[in-house]
């Protein structure tokens, strides 16, 4: 079978299941307490310089844009991130917040490659390790299982493996060659959901992306929601709770929190805004202008939403994908 290989990149976040267990015991609570707070308070209390972050779903679909903008507004630096992103990771990179990226994809799908990632990578400003989409999700799943790694059959034989921190292993039962992915128990997980009660029992409509895995693989979990519902509604449909309250540290009520991305069944993507954005990020100057106009010049998400304007927002609601 030959020698087993290892990826050459240094692991950004080392697996520590026992450390994670101890952390959960000390910091998490089963108490039903009101966890509502503003973006500013959530970021101030729970995000620190040097933290490892992951966001879900991704920048043009059900993405935690209001919390992302607040991280940039507060000027946090030297963050590390699991990059399965479109706009939210792009903004963080553009704002100079990111040091290391465990990258799977940073681009705009049909709208092309990311000029922000190009400038950062080609200028050697960020350290990038390569992974696949499934691999990043499975790394979260491993952390959720409380184990240090998970064996899978992706990445094998490729340079994606070589420029990762994964390792080949031999199965003790079958002798098969497998790819061992290190577990990622992130410092801060950030998810945008449709609704929750004030304790943080969250419901998501439609696909779950990797929200279920990320919520269970986060030391600190910040959730933003479109709306708050009564606890009675949670109790009537408990099967709809995909993220239970005890995982959640901060709950931010952020209507249009995924803007300019879409929020399925609530509002459609703001094409006009994105077109303008994609045009601006072609240059560094344009990128900084966008960050200034939509983040640094505005105090909070509420003001951001006001600048988009009622008429535009109503049109996005009208254009949403209906069942």
């Amino acid at each position: 079978m030959g020698e087993l290989k290892s990826g050459i990149k240094e692991l950004v976040l080392k697996p520590d299941p026992d450390g994670a267990r101890a952390w959960m015991r000390e910091h998490k609570s089963m108490a039903l307490v009101d966890k509502r707070m503003t973006e500013a308070e959530a970021v101030r209390r729970f995000v620190q310089e040097g933290d490892y972050l992951a966001t879900e779903l991704y920048g043009s679909c059900r993405a935690p844009m209001s919390i992302t903008r607040e991280i940039i507004r507060q000027g946090l630096r030297n963050l590390n991130i699991a990059g399965q992103g479109v706009m939210e990771t792009e903004l963080l990179i553009a704002a100079g917040c990111i040091r290391n990226i465990d990258l799977t994809y940073q681009g705009w799908e049909v709208y092309g490659i990311s000029p922000v990632l190009r400038r950062a990578a080609e200028g050697g400003k960020v350290n990038i390790s390569e992974w696949s989409n499934a691999s990043l999700a499975w790394r979260l799943k491993a952390a959720a299982l409380g184990v240090p790694f998970i064996p899978v059959r992706s990445m094998l034989g490729t340079d994606t493996f070589k420029y990762s921190a994964a390792k080949e292993i031999t199965c003790p039962f079958t002798g098969m060659k497998l790819c061992a992915l290190p577990a990622t128990m992130v410092d801060v997980g950030i998810i945008h959901a449709h609704r929750a009660d004030k304790y943080g029992n969250c419901q998501i409509d439609g696909i779950s992306g990797f929200a279920i895995e990320l919520a269970r693989a986060s030391k600190k979990l910040l959730v933003s929601v479109e709306e708050i519902i009564d606890n009675e509604e949670i109790r009537t449909y408990p099967e709809r709770t995909v993220i239970p309250w005890f995982l959640v540290d901060a709950l931010v009520v952020a209507p249009f929190g995924s803007h300019p991305g879409e929020m399925n069944s609530y509002y459609w993507r703001d094409q006009e805004h994105l077109k303008e954005y994609l045009d601006l990020i072609k240059t560094e100057q344009g990128t900084q202008e966008y960050l200034k106009r939509t983040i640094h010049d505005l105090p909070d998400h509420e003001t951001y939403v006001q600048t988009i304007g009622k008429e535009r927002l109503a049109a996005l609601v009208e254009a949403r994908t209906m069942r």
Binding site: E109, E122, I207
Partner: protein
Amino acid sequence: MTTPQYNNQELLICIAARQMSDNTSAFIGTGIPMLAAALAKRMHAPNLVTFFEFGGVAPDLAMLPHGVGESRTYHRALAALGICDVMETACRGFIEYGFLGGAQIDPYGNLNSTVLGDHDLPKVRFPGSGGANDIGSLCWRTIAIMPHDRRKFVPKVDFVTTAGYLGGPGSREEAGLPPGTGPYRVVTNLALLGYDEQTCRMKLLATNPGVTVDQVVEHTGFELLFADEIGTNPPPTEQELHLLRDEIDPTGLYIGKR
């Protein structure tokens, strides 16, 4: 009867659509695969089951998605799952076809969508694997859709983002990838290509309308193998074009405005 006018995108979509059989399953990425699947479902493969990376399974594809996580990927779908569930479905051998693209492809179907030049200080940085590496590892048969030119069809890719046949026969199995999987077709603006069973090298199967074998060779940066009989792909039919233009992509997002 005159042959209808069509553009390169429309041709690629039609030929890609024709590669998928009915009653099978396909892992669909952003762009041309979405249109190809939507067309195949309306033509010869009404029971084609489409899987979308972040959880959409078998949507009606009445409206064209712009991304693999958006709500149109599960509009009137049979299931709205998550990324692990969909990827693990491929792990268990359920998903027949997987669509791929990239900046470079080599004779063994290895694909690069990561960098040109050195990894840590690249000449050009592309988006990265996304789901491509998983699709190329786990689906039974992959179909690559590529613009055909020498800068893209290269003897050796700068970076193997996604496994094709790697170094040739037996390489995938040796690497630990599931046996019986691998590249199946390459659809380009010039031709339809497959792979030689003995050598795992890319082989010209058919040329597109109006394209000569010499032109294909000229635009390929490595030595191609040739099928015993090289066919000609029929041009898009009026019905295919009508479905594409009037039903699938009426705003011309992918096929261009008319």
